[in-house]
Amino acid sequence: MSEVTVRSEWPLFEVFLRGKRGLNHVHVGSLHAADPQMALHHARDLYTRRNEGVSIWVVAASDITASSPDEKDPFFAPSGDKVYRHPTFYQIPDDVPHM
């Protein structure tokens, strides 16, 4: 950031919505609020103006631990070379039923 100014900022919260029952919560964006309760209310006003959600999670952005975004990251390498974890790795004759 270019300049450091002393401001009293509302912290950043990330918002997750469950679109309807039976679906996972999905990240939809972020907002600023003074506390988690206010973040919930703001999330309702901002992200569910048209019935987009039946449940909301808000999480202080500073509480999220994230992996590196780079997909070449060696972090994901352990799963890259384990083709035997996929069903297509195994050759089964076509005439074996229900497999």
Binding site: M1, E9, L12, S30, A34, D35, R49, P69
Partner: protein
Amino acid sequence: MTIIDETELQAHFDQTMARERRIEPRDWVPDKYRATVLRQIAQHAHSEIIGMQPEGNWITRAPSLRRKAILLAKVQDEAGHGMYLYSAAETLGTDRAELTEKLITGRQKYSSIFNYPTLSYADVGVIGWLVDGAAICNQVPLCRSSYGPYARAMVRICKEESFHQRQGYELLMTMMRGTAAQRDMVQDATNRFWWPSLMMFGPPDADSPNTGQSMKWGIKRHTNDELRQRFVDMTVPQADKLGVTLPDPALNWNQERGSYDFGAVDWDEFKAVVAGNGPCNTQRVARRKAAHDDGAWVREAALAHAAKAGGTA
């Protein structure tokens, strides 16, 4: 921590672009890409926020409870769109307070269209029809922006803009079925907003030196002139159906091109408005600044309350 060569990072970025894959927050990007996307998102966000003012001007004077509820919902949407976009901008490493500060000190711009006044209630309809119509033309291709958070915000926004355009057109259809004075209001509003709407697509391609780079980066999908032409072609039949005349004697169907020819936009006026000399520039920014200043005690009180309750992050 290993030190990675910048040429390798650049090569990875180039490959992402070549494959039409999305850039996500915290990916390495060239400084110029970051600055350009940030400027684009910030300008868009500011436009949504300032865009509340011209229409908000008519909320207390909407002619019925139905129209008032619609207009309130629309202006709330503009606020919402601004918030989605500020949220996307923050993923590029800026923060919201800084963006607001840049807006109210004139260091970042917003769309020149919002520097025109709304003189009659018909303007609410014409803004929905023409201004939001032009915005949709501009924004639909941005749902495929290479910057993921911006593209996702645009998907939400485009869904909601459709309501904006339709409520405007329906309002105008209603007025056109009314009295001669009401029809005159619609025509007058159309006359005032037509040319500024065409300016919303930005300067002609010949004067838009950054377009090539932006298209290579997937943060612009069509040139200004292409989008302007698309908007004209979409809008002419809508004007006919409505029964208003678009204020351009040169507007004419060109069989050969399969498009409408139209007259020259007054780019001197555009430049003057962008430079700060439109009818409402000063008032729009002053209003935004006043709202921000007047809200300071609320922001501080909420923080104090959160600290006292022990719930602040």
